[in-house]
């Protein structure tokens, strides 16, 4: 039983990590139907910015909590700025182009950003300072769930709820939903579609940055390539849950996390990703638009 719980929480933590990245994926996809392959790189840049800022701040002898807050805020600021800029450069000019063109542009952008960080920083892994200490009340559960894992799970949950509320109730959220469903009509209702799309990228990137900081802190190391696998996994999770849906992204990510953790624990980690992808195929066969996805059946 304990083993089960351990695997359960291992999967939950991992799933939450995927979820934070998947949320941004799903938002961007929802609004412009673009698989934003560069999203993983935004997450990586968030983590790098955090590392750099933490390094600079370490000179000042601040309390760890303060460093954590500042680092997170700056990472969010910068990732958002990158997300915003990337959209303007690589996607906006392609808005009326065939959808695959934007996809290729995204792949190119992803390669570019990886190498940009590789060249400007280093190819090596860098240690990420531990910014979240061990909570005392967690001491006796530590063998099941670490403190940083707990923070990730809670943050993901909060991010999901806030994001859902934001999309459901704010003006911008409404504008996002309208833009996602019918851009031309949104324009005709006076919605500034460009701004809505930019905002989506900014919000999605901010979430990725938050993920970057938390995950780097949890794992303790980063390099320029971490965005790639994380991005693919998050994309998988978003599709599994039904791309475009916020709770779907989280659910998909959790299922993915659990599949990986239980298949490792009870079968073999060699084939962990194989199981994950097989699960994906099976779920999509029975629910072709993901678990919580909108039916895409066209009315004839």
């Amino acid at each position: 039983m304990e083993y089960f719980l351990q695997l359960f929480f291992a999967g939950l933590t991992k799933g939450s990590i995927y979820a934070l990245i998947a949320l941004g994926y799903t938002m961007v996809y929802g609004i412009i139907q673009l698989i934003n392959f560069a999203h993983g790189e935004i997450y990586m840049i968030g983590a790098f910015t955090a590392l750099i800022v933490a390094g600079v701040l370490s000179v000042f002898n601040l309390p760890v909590a303060a460093i954590f807050v500042i680092v997170t805020l700056v990472a969010i600021l910068y990732s958002s700025a990158y997300g915003y800029t990337i959209e303007k450069i690589a996607y906006k000019p392609l808005r009326n182009a065939p959808r695959l063109s934007a996809l290729i542009s995204a792949i190119g952008m992803s390669i570019f950003l990886q190498n940009y960080v590789l060249l400007a920083q280093t190819s090596d892994f860098l240690p990420f300072p531990s910014l979240i200490g061990q909570f005392e009340f967690m001491a006796s559960y530590n063998h099941i769930l670490s403190s940083s894992g707990l923070v990730i799970i809670i943050s993901t949950f909060i991010a999901m709820v806030l994001l859902s509320l934001y999309i459901k109730f704010t003006r911008m959220g409404k504008a996002m939903r309208a833009t996602a469903q019918d851009k031309k009509m949104a324009l005709l209702l006076g919605i500034n579609v460009d701004r809505v799309i930019s905002t989506t990228f900014v919000v999605g990137s901010a979430l990725a940055a938050l993920g970057g900081v938390l995950i780097a802190n949890h794992i303790g190391q980063i390099n320029f390539f971490i965005g790639f696998i994380a991005g693919i996994k998050a994309f998988t999770a978003a599709v599994l849950g039904g791309i475009g849906s916020v709770p779907g992204a989280v659910l998909g990510a959790l299922i993915l996390g659990w599949t990986e953790s239980f298949s490792t624990g009870y079968i073999s980690s060699d084939y962990q990703d194989v199981f994950a992808f097989i699960l994906l195929v099976v779920i999509l066969i029975f629910k072709p638009s993901g678990i919580l996805g909108k039916k895409t059946d066209q009315k004839v």
């Binding site: 351990q6 291992a10 999967g11 531990s130 530590n142 063998h143 990986e260 980690s269």
Partner: protein, 349 residues
């Protein structure tokens, strides 16, 4: 030709770039040193750098390009797979190739590649040492063997598994691969714990090792963790921090007191403002060994150079080395290290 052309090939971009770039830097330092002193027999040395991303097909391209440019000798490639692919090209003109990091045993032991040398020990030698150390010194009985599914790590782990199974009274508790680059290894860590292993042998590189060790230690699993040369890297200690304490890793004999190694490290620090990375010293030694061989042979004729590699010792940061008939370095001894107070300390084993 009026220059001697030294090729350096390996992964310089993509996810494995960090294993290839240090060798380029090392070779550059060695070549600069030679050229400062007037080159070899009055000929300057020209460095030709080619990226192969550790992919076989790119390695073939890189090798063909180097050959087209009339390369005399090659330091590289980095990954065993890419090296094998590239060797099929070099073999046609018997270009001497010396790798700082390709550890696949077959490269030397199969006899297929007479022009191949390396300044790193093959996987089986390391695995032997790891297992003997684990069993004899640490008295482990039930060992979990984990690897990163990679060419190097898995090969090593398979040897370790084989050696453990051959030893009376010792079991393999678990034999599994982890996905490199994955975000989190807590599931596999829990599984190790659940297998009641009394020690872990890990085959692979430091990023995964540090993640696994960190999570093991955070979960208060304090069983011995034994790994390989891919982990015996300063970065591992930097990244894993306090969790690195007590970890064992095999690696070339300690050379930190070797003045050449000190010097090489110093150069790197001066020029790049950071410590060197993986296989830096191996690369350094490889470049030195091959250039020295040319010097001794007074020729770039492959046969003569290879002969010189096998007969003459050369002083390198790794010590005084020459190469055996198969191409493995003689004099690159292996030791077991342990992280103590944030440093790798050579054990007397």
């Amino acid at each position: 030709a009026d220059t001697i052309k030294l090729g350096v090939a390996g992964a310089h971009s993509g996810d494995l770039a960090s294993y290839g770039i240090p060798t380029v830097r090392a070779a550059q330092f060695v070549v600069d040193e030679y050229n400062k002193n007037g080159g070899i027999d009055g000929k300057k040395i020209e460095l030709l750098v080619e990226d192969d991303e550790c992919k076989p097909e790119k390695a073939v391209n890189a090798a063909t390009k180097l050959m087209s440019q009339g390369v005399d000798v090659v330091v590289g490639h980095i990954c065993s797979g890419a090296t094998k692919a590239a060797l099929s090209i070099y073999l046609s003109q018997m270009i001497p190739v010396i790798s700082p990091s390709a550890t696949n045993p077959a490269l030397t032991q199969s006899g297929d590649y007479p022009n191949f040398f390396r300044t790193i020990a093959p996987d089986d030698a390391q695995a032997r040492l790891e297992v003997d150390f684990a069993v004899e010194e640490l008295g482990l009985k039930n060992i979990a063997v984990i690897h990163d599914k990679g060419d190097y790590g898995k090969g090593l782990a398979q040897f370790a598994k084989k050696f453990i199974e051959e030893t009376e009274g010792v079991n393999v508790a678990l034999f599994e691969g982890v996905t490199p680059g994955a975000l989190d290894y807590s599931a596999i860590v829990q599984k190790i714990k659940n297998s009641n292993a009394d020690g872990v042998i890990f085959g692979g590189y430091h990023p995964e090792a540090s993640k696994i060790v960190t999570q093991m230690r955070k979960k208060e699993m304090n069983i011995p963790f034994i790994s390989d040369d891919g982990v015996k890297d300063e970065t591992f200690i930097k990244v894993a921090g306090k969790y690195a304490e007590g970890v064992y890793a095999t690696g070339p004999k300690d050379v930190s007191s070797n003045p050449l190694a000190k010097e090489a490290e110093k150069k790197h620090m001066e020029k790049y403002g950071e410590q060197s990375g993986a296989f830096y010293l191996n690369g350094y030694a490889a470049a030195q060994a091959i250039l020295n061989a040319i010097d001794n042979a007074d020729s770039t004729d492959p046969q003569k150079v290879m002969q010189a590699m096998r007969t003459n010792y050369v002083e390198t940061p790794l010590g005084k080395i020459k190469f055996d008939e198969k191409g493995d370095a003689i004099g690159v001894g292996f030791s077991v290290y342990q992280v103590q107070n944030g440093e790798y300390v050579e054990l007397n084993y």
